[in-house]
């Protein structure tokens, strides 16, 4: 609990952080439209990369709102995985067959 601005469970600061997380989740749902429509595979990979970045943001906001600093480690792992996933798909589309 950080005094003054109400970060931690139940304070006004944590409500603000949760509201931000709701907004970012809403944006991720909208991004699914771009993943669905494409039209090229590059559009889909970029849209998925943005969704992964949104996942990192949501988990970081939740770590602040729920006062659980351990969640930040998970956010870091997601950031690394997100990069790996985008690279794997991009490499597959450019040089057909090479993934690793």
């Amino acid at each position: 609990m950080i005094e003054g601005i109400g970060i931690g469970t139940g304070g006004t600061g944590s409500t603000l952080l949760l509201a931000g997380a709701v907004g970012v989740v809403f944006v991720s749902v909208l991004l699914l439209g771009r993943v669905m429509l494409g039209p090229t595979m590059q559009d889909r990979v970029i849209a998925l990369n943005v969704i992964g970045s949104n996942a990192v943001i949501v988990i970081a906001l939740l770590a602040g709102a729920m006062d659980e600093p351990a969640f930040l480690d998970i956010a870091l792992v997601y950031a690394l995985l997100n990069f790996l996933m985008s690279i794997a798909i991009s490499k597959f589309t450019v040089e057909r067959g090479g993934v690793l």
């Binding site: 993943v35 949501v58 351990a70 997601y78 798909i89």
Partner: protein, 180 residues
């Protein structure tokens, strides 16, 4: 406010699952499946199970994507089907929905979350027994480890067999990719 996050994430997960099943282009379905894993992983974090969330992200978004890509690299993939969807067998789909609702109808019969041993007899006595006697019985300091490797050792042995078989299968698929 947490309810809104959970609702949004559930909507995201259901949409990505439907798109994975419906999209005809395999590569697009793999990309959407990566999104599904990310949504599922955040849901685990929201439900206060960060270790499961880590596993979901590492296995679902990381390993599965690469494995699927290697699989279609070694087989064939039809192109030019960018946004077409598969033909849905509607009677089978309706049957699946009916089955899901039949299973969901049993949920109200479950004991409430956090209910005491009187409402939840199957778990009340066992968990307190493990917590009190695990160290004397097994001399393992972590009670979860004690349950996994001592009390349920044969279950864990079966699990390890399955994981080993899966690892061998993955190496077989990846071999050309890795050793070329």
């Amino acid at each position: 406010m947490i309810t809104w996050i959970e609702g949004g994430l559930l909507l995201f997960v259901v949409l990505t699952a439907l798109m994975t099943a419906m999209l005809r282009d395999v590569l697009a379905a793999i990309i959407v499946f990566g999104g599904y894993s990310l949504g599922m992983a955040i849901l685990w974090v929201v439900l206060q199970a960060p270790d499961v969330g880590l596993t979901e992200a590492a296995v679902g978004a990381g390993v599965m994507t690469v494995l699927f890509l290697v699989t279609i690299a070694r087989t064939t993939r039809m192109t030019g089907l960018e946004v077409t969807t598969v033909d849905v067998n509607w009677s089978a789909a309706v049957l699946c929905v009916v089955f899901v609702f039949a299973v969901l109808a049993t949920v109200p019969a479950l004991p409430a979350v956090g209910a005491g041993p009187e409402a939840n007899p199957a778990f009340g006595e066992v968990s307190s027994y493990y917590i009190e006697n695990a160290y004397d019985d097994t001399h393992v300091e972590n009670v979860v480890t004690a349950v996994l490797v001592a009390y349920r050792g044969f279950d864990t042995f079966g699990e390890a067999t399955v994981v080993f078989a899966a690892g061998v299968a993955v190496l077989t698929v990846l071999r050309r990719e890795v050793f070329e």
